[in-house]
């Protein structure tokens, strides 16, 4: 599952790190005991599940502040527990729904970007300029 996720993320040009925990994020001044946190440059968020078919993370949005925090982070780290990886978007969605009943789920698979001017890709439009997936493999 992890290999497949990394392979697909590479196709989309998104960085993936396999980690044992996300404690290193504390060094950016982020509080990793929370569900999400951000400061001006960096943010992180814990995903409910992930889909390998598209290298996507599923995130629940219970309130508007969480959405704001995601959009305002220049670099956004998204942690996904290895055990929550599923093959398809659909399976990942149902797992997320089992874990929480929130009405709004956001699938993130890459940074905010546009190719609206002559198909030239520019990252960081109305959301994060960079996404890093942290696949948490506790071993």
């Amino acid at each position: 599952m992890i290999e497949k996720f990394i392979e697909t993320a590479n196709l989309s040009g998104v960085e993936v790190k396999v980690v044992k925990n996300i404690n290193f994020l504390n060094e950016f001044g982020l509080n990793t005991s929370l569900d999400y946190d951000s400061n001006k440059n960096v943010g992180f968020i814990k995903a409910l599940s992930g889909a390998t078919e598209s290298a996507s993370a599923v995130i629940n949005i219970p309130k508007r502040e969480k959405l704001k925090s995601i959009l305002n982070s220049k670099t956004l780290y998204i942690s996904i527990e290895k055990a929550t990886l599923r093959s398809t978007l659909s399976e990942a969605y149902f797992l997320a729904k089992q874990k929480c009943q929130d009405e709004y789920m956001l699938f993130i698979s890459g940074e905010s970007k546009t190719a609206d001017i002559e198909k030239t890709l520019v990252s960081g439009v109305q959301g994060p300029e960079k996404i890093v997936f942290l696949l948490v493999n506790k071993g």
């Binding site: 196709l11 959405l67 699938f107 905010s112 546009t114 002559e118 439009v125 109305q126």
Partner: protein
């Protein structure tokens, strides 16, 4: 004043912008096609859409009930004016003077922006491309890339002018500037308007996006969503399949950066408008119901040579542009359907890429027959093809005057009018080729009008080849044209007449060979659609037939030993899937084979198209010739007399005598020494 076809073809900024977009799209798409099975995806999407359009009424009822039971305000708008009134009522009731919008084709369809502006409510588009076209008072010209027609130079000029800025020609700098301007607007309203890509009938909405503007739009107190009823699917699995394939086919992306999936957006109030606007009527039409299978990926636009030549400002209806634009404009009762549909050359490049396998080209032919537009001369010419006795007499009469080809070097007006300024036409045969007497056989050759009128040398080569290979092939003495010319010019009744005569000529043969893939494809596909007669096992392109036959026989071939390339005719490659095998055969024989870039891109002949739309046709053939020159070829082989006529005619005008264009059958005859 409206820009003309010629002006669009000569607009260098537009040409650059479209070329870069097309190139980038296909590069990305090709990479992805190596990893994902696009054909399997297309089958799945077609099946999902067909299933759901069949249950459209049931889906609507379910969705309405589900949303209402959850306490949302839902409105079913039969027509666009009802939807607009509903928007107006909500916005005025809430005292809203400005709204932010995310990109929504459905709001474009109902002309929401101009309606709101007329009613003193300011709509602000927040998708970068949409914002650019809105700012420049234009319409979006592509489904997923609204500003595709705008070159970076043009964008820079108007940004500097409008905002009194001093930006440089640097796309990153321009994007940063635009995003900051857009960003200012999110806090100026409490209402966000958006569409949805899919909605399940239990009321789960799916929106795909990349920029992050949609999440800002959703993050408002009042959320209004408008969605066409064709977007409703039975369940979440169906929805995920669609949003998973859509970006792959639309932009060559594995997936979009964001997919919003919600049963209620984050705002406090949620209003939903379900738009019909002729969708339920179309869903009941046997052929055109397939239009509703569209998932609005815009791939057909990127694949269409007409669209990528003149862009979506010319090749468009009221709202939508390109191939799908023709179909959706028909659904929308667009006034100028004849002009729009006749811009299509019939090349089927759209069919090949469509996410849900909509037979776009065939539906456009059907539309052409409803909005036929032909002048008297053209009608006479097409109708005369039904009476081959008359046609033969005309050939004999005209032949002495055009023994050196049709060049019209002296009469400028006629030359321009008939598209002879960019391409000459070949000499007319002395007699119609199909009068050649041959032994009776179970294998027949339907030579077709182009061979009968212009290319008897190709016909004669086939006879020599069959004699050499000891195969009896009977030249069919035609009573009529096969009907393709009539059908492609919207004269369906005439096409049926001609086809009925042709069926009598061909039905006794076990195998029917063709020198012109237009005729072969007409008999194979359209006869089946028109009369339910399945000729598919009996129809073959003559070249393909020989290639298959030679697999089991041993002959000595003497290759041309020149730089050789192969151009794939539209109807042979996409219509009959028989072009690749021919190319492989040539590759095997010719050491100096040089593969043609864009080998299956239409050459722009398409019968009378090259006269009616001479500027577009000229652009097509110039691009083909550019590719031929880049391949360094001395000989261009192809399998269609129409393509030979177009390419060699254009080379003739350019005086490029070092490149010859020949039919594959003639090539085969030559290398076999027949």
């Amino acid at each position: 004043m409206k820009k003309t076809e010629e002006e669009f073809c000569n607009d260098q900024f537009l040409q650059n912008a479209l070329n870069r977009a097309e190139k980038s799209y296909f590069e990305k798409r090709r990479k992805l096609e190596k990893v994902f099975d696009f054909e399997k995806f297309k089958d799945e999407i077609r099946d999902i859409k067909e299933k759901n359009i069949k249950s459209l009424e049931e889906n609507i009822v379910f969705l309405l009930n589900n949303l209402r039971s959850r306490g949302f305000e839902v409105f079913f708008a039969k027509y666009s004016d009802e939807a607009l009134t509903y928007f107006y009522n909500i916005l005025t009731k809430k005292g809203i003077k400005k709204v932010v919008k995310s990109k929504s084709l459905t709001t474009e369809e109902i002309n929401l922006n101009s309606f709101l502006e007329k009613n003193n409510i300011t709509p602000v588009e927040t998708d970068l491309g949409e914002w650019l076209v809105q700012l420049n008072n234009e319409k979006a010209t592509h489904m997923t890339a609204p500003a595709i027609h705008m070159s970076k130079e043009k964008i820079l000029n108007f940004l500097n002018e409008k905002f009194n800025a001093n930006l440089k020609l640097d796309i990153k700098e321009m994007v940063d500037f635009c995003k900051n301007e857009i960003n200012k607007e999110f806090d100026n309203t409490n209402c966000g308007i958006f569409g949805a890509n899919v909605v399940t009938r239990d009321g789960t909405f799916f929106i795909v996006s990349n920029e992050g503007n949609i999440q800002h739009v959703l993050n408002h107190d009042i959320n209004i969503c408008i969605v066409g009823i064709d977007k409703i699917v039975e369940n979440v699995d169906d929805a995920f399949k669609i949003v998973s394939f859509l970006p792959k086919n639309a932009t060559g992306q594995v997936i979009t950066s964001w997919i919003d999936v919600f049963t209620k957006p984050p705002g406090n109030e949620f209003f939903v408008i379900l738009l019909d606007n002729n969708r339920s009527k179309i869903a009941r039409e046997e052929k055109f119901d397939k239009v509703l299978n569209c998932i609005k990926c815009g791939a057909c636009q990127m694949a269409c040579p007409v669209y990528t030549t003149v862009g979506g400002q010319l090749f468009r209806g009221e709202t939508y542009a390109g191939p799908i634009g023709v179909l959706l404009s028909y659904m929308d009762n667009y006034k100028l359907m004849n002009e729009l549909s006749f811009l299509c050359t019939g090349c089927m490049a759209c069919d090949k890429v469509c996410s849900s396998r909509i037979p776009i080209q065939s539906l456009i032919l059907e539309i052409k027959s409803k909005y036929e537009r032909n002048n008297i001369i053209k009608k006479f010419a097409i109708k005369s093809m039904k009476n081959y006795r008359l046609l033969r007499a005309l050939i004999s009469l005209a032949s002495p005057y055009f023994k050196d080809g049709i060049k019209m070097r002296r009469f400028k007006f006629l030359r321009d009018e008939f598209g002879l300024s960019f391409r000459t036409l070949p000499a007319i045969n002395k007699v119609s080729f199909d009068t050649v007497k041959t032994k009776s056989s179970k294998i027949g050759l339907f030579a077709g009008c182009s061979t009968n009128i212009f290319y008897d040398d190709v016909g004669k080569d086939l006879v020599r080849l069959s004699n050499f290979l000891n195969i009896d092939i009977e030249i069919i003495n035609q009573s009529s044209c096969c009907g393709a010319a009539a059908l492609y010019n919207g004269l369906k009744v005439e096409a049926i007449n001609q086809a009925q005569k042709t069926i009598k000529d061909i039905e006794r043969f076990e195998k029917i060979l063709f020198l012109d893939p237009h005729c072969a494809h007409m008999v194979q596909r359209d006869y089946s659609e028109l009369f339910g007669i399945d000729f598919s096992n009996r129809v073959a392109d003559a070249g393909y037939y020989f290639v298959e036959l030679l697999k089991n026989r041993k002959y000595k071939f003497i290759p041309l030993n020149k730089v050789v390339t192969y151009h794939h005719p539209c109807h042979l490659s996409r219509g009959m899937n028989q072009a690749l095998q021919i190319e492989d055969f040539i590759k095997e024989k010719e050491k100096k084979f040089s593969e043609l870039n864009e080998k299956d891109r239409c050459c722009g002949f398409a019968g009378t198209y090259s006269i009616m739309h001479k500027h577009i046709s000229n652009k097509f053939v110039q691009r083909k010739i550019d590719n031929i020159i880049k391949s360094n070829s001395e000989v261009v082989i192809t399998s269609c007399p129409g393509c030979i006529m177009q390419i060699s005619g254009a080379l003739d005008v350019m005086n490029a005598q070092n490149i010859s264009v020949i039919h594959f059958v003639s090539y085969l005859k030559n290398i076999l020494g027949a």
